[in-house]
Amino acid sequence: MTTSPTASTSPAPGGTATLLGHHVLGPELPAVPYDHPFRAEFRGWLQQHPLGPEPLEQDARIAHRRAWHRELAADGWVGLHWPVEHGGRGADALTQFMYYEELALAGAPEPANTPGLILLGPTLMVHGTEELKKRFLPGILAGDEAWCQGFSEPDAGSDLAAVRTRAELVGDEWVVNGQKIWTTFGQYADLVFVLCRTTPGSERHRGLSLLVVPADQPGVTIRAIKQISGDEEFCEVFLDDARAPRDWVVGEVGQGWAAAMTLFQFERGDQGYTDHARMLVRLAGVERRLAESETAGLVSSVRAATARARHRDLWVRIQGLRLLNYRGAVLATSGEGLGAVGSMTNLVWGELEKELGAAVAEAVGACGLRAGRHDTHERLHTRAASIYSGTSEIQRNIIAERLLGLPR
């Protein structure tokens, strides 16, 4: 088998990590300069905490990410945007922006447990009781309790308000019945946050509640869905008389839609900060690998030229995403929401992600067909990007109707 370098840019653990230079990110942006003290501080820490290449096998990959989460958390490098009272640093969105850029330049994965860290935690801070905050926030930050999301349902698809899972109060417990789908890494979760109907007979956005349901109980069955990449990143969650304590409701009973909307705001407001940087790092790797492939005769010079034009196009579009993310961070810092710009970043990201995944595999020519390689895997894996966090079609609908005011 012809070998070619695998996708990881991380050095082996032990020594000092090599961090990519800021030029990989593109031109400097005024509010997040490359000589910002925060960057220097975090880079210093990252340099001292090298990490090995990410395994290809999923369980090992998740374990790798959780270990990294704990390593970051041990020195207070997780949940920087969380308020100090909840263990964070109260960092603003611009700091968060730099944080993710530096993580990417170090070739490091994001902290594991993003559903808890990015979504449920901040939502709890807005809508949760003091008891729930005390109970759950520390475990999220430390990486001790993993969370997953129970929103989508099989027959609802992109229509979130068509929730049919129901919960009924029986004594001191909610008894939950229904089925969820597209639950990211459900099989590794300790807790599920479930959007369900608590007012019998209610319709659409009314009568819903956001419950916290422990995953490890007889009433919860989690079945992984095999993807075309071989990964099992998404799960079906079957709730058959699953139990949740009466008080484990995020927000008021019956006001679950409001809590869910808060949560979605966080989804669009945070993950966006990291993706362009990770993409730029990956693209730099692709460009390097293509040159190697051309030298090694794995791709013809014509094919390499075609690929280069495509890489340039990708770079340009990622710069656009970077500016959208940057403006999002600036807006967030001044306390404003993203509005429909969230749908824009989501759309741009999803389409780019697929093309970048394809570019990764194509940079090694026919070798990108061979199973068991990071590049081969990445191409298949990224096919889901324009679907799972709201399809590109839904994002275009939202942009057209909410932002552009076109009639439904």
């Binding site: 030229a305 067909l369 590109s392």
Partner: protein, 376 residues
């Protein structure tokens, strides 16, 4: 219904029969099961194709063929492609037999007859690698004449059916040109390593030949132009499989769009999705016409036409198939990227088919070259 190639109208009956057989022989369940076996194909199904005489459809009646031409054989390729059939058909009846017809002389007749009869299967190994050869380009396989006969040395990667074929039909570089050879695939001098790829329905292998005894299948040397002509010729059945697969992909997507409801309507009534399907349909209608126009050129012996049509249809079929598969995944939404529906299998097949003979960029470069020659 999606437009059939108008050129295939005269063969509507054959086409319908082939479709019916392919649809029952290569159901999704059977295809997945067969692809998971060690050799990656369904022996029973293959016997059935042999019994139907499909491997010899295009061959001369003098050697037991049906004499129906490449055009009709491409109808079979199209339907096997549509079902992602894990079968020796493309490698043996399409590529290897095609090479023997095009380049072999009477020394090749026996082998050709046995491939047609299905008593043996073959893989075609192109010594220059993928794409079109050049006079001074590298050659992975070389043939040397020794007192004991010809021997072939070298390495070839990702050869279709390389590990499961009985015979290798090898195009190898000789001292002054190229030659066409038969190598027994089962001997020790041939090291065969199955290559696991994203697409289990195509059985690829890496081959290493070390002084492998070879039988020369044509007395005259083969010129570089003739090897190029072989690549053009090989593009036709491969493109037929890609076009068929692309149509199947769209059909499955249309079926899903007609039946899946969301927001209270079948999602196929949403105009943006309709328009995307229309664009795919137009592209694959054109690609199908290109395939069958080229099949007509093969049957007419129009080598000049194929020099242009070969790279053109290879590139377009690969692009259209990949696009159809990508759109199929996207338009299926959530289930599209799971293994529970077949569209992902088509996507992976598109990736492999797109590399098998030549990548799209190389095919277009070849087209540019040939067009420039024509204009000069």
């Amino acid at each position: 219904m999606i437009t059939e190639p108008a050129s295939a109208r005269d063969h509507a009956e054959v086409s319908a029969l082939v479709r019916e057989v392919a649809a029952t022989t290569f159901t999704s369940e059977k295809v997945r099961a067969a692809a998971a076996t060690a050799l990656g194909f369904d022996e029973v199904a293959w016997k059935q194709l042999v019994d139907l005489g499909w491997p010899s459809l295009a061959l001369d009646p003098a050697i037991g063929g049906a004499g129906m031409g490449t055009f009709v054989q491409c109808l079979v390729h199209r339907e096997l492609g549509a079902r992602l059939a894990p079968s020796p058909y493309l490698a043996s009846a399409g590529l290897a037999s095609g090479a023997l017809v095009l380049l072999g002389d009477d020394r090749a007749t026996d082998l050709l007859a046995s491939l047609g009869a299905g008593t043996r299967t073959a893989a075609l190994v192109l010594g220059h690698g993928r794409g079109w050869p050049t006079d001074d380009g590298p050659a992975g396989l070389t043939a040397t004449e020794t007192p004991a006969g010809w021997i072939v040395d070298g390495r070839a990667e990702l050869v279709l059916d390389g590990a499961r074929a009985d015979v290798l039909v090898v195009v190898a570089r000789t001292a002054d040109a190229w030659g066409l050879f038969e190598v027994d695939a089962r001997i020790g001098a041939v090291s065969r390593t199955p290559a696991a790829t994203v697409d289990a329905t195509r059985a690829l292998a890496d081959l290493q030949l070390t002084a492998a005894p070879a039988r020369c299948l044509r007395s005259r040397p083969v010129t570089t132009d003739e090897v190029s002509g072989l690549v053009d010729r090989m593009a036709v059945p491969l493109a037929a499989e890609m076009a068929g697969a692309a149509v199947a992909c769209l059909e499955q997507t249309l079926e899903y769009l007609r039946t899946r409801h969301q927001f209270g309507r079948p999602i196929g009534s949403f105009q943006a999705l309709k328009h995307r399907c229309a664009d795919v349909a137009v592209a694959l209608t054109v690609a199908q016409e290109m395939v069958f126009a080229a099949a007509e050129m093969v049957d007419a012996g129009d080598v000049a036409g194929l020099r242009i049509a070969g790279p053109l249809l290879l590139a377009r079929s690969a692009e259209v198939f990949l696009h159809a598969a990508e759109e199929a995944i996207q338009l299926h939404g959530g289930v599209g990227f799971t293994d529970e529906v077949d569209v992902g299998l088509y996507y992976k097949r598109a990736l492999v088919d797109g590399e098998l003979l030549a990548p799209v960029a190389d095919a277009y470069a070849r087209l540019d070259l040939v067009r420039a020659e024509g204009a000069a």
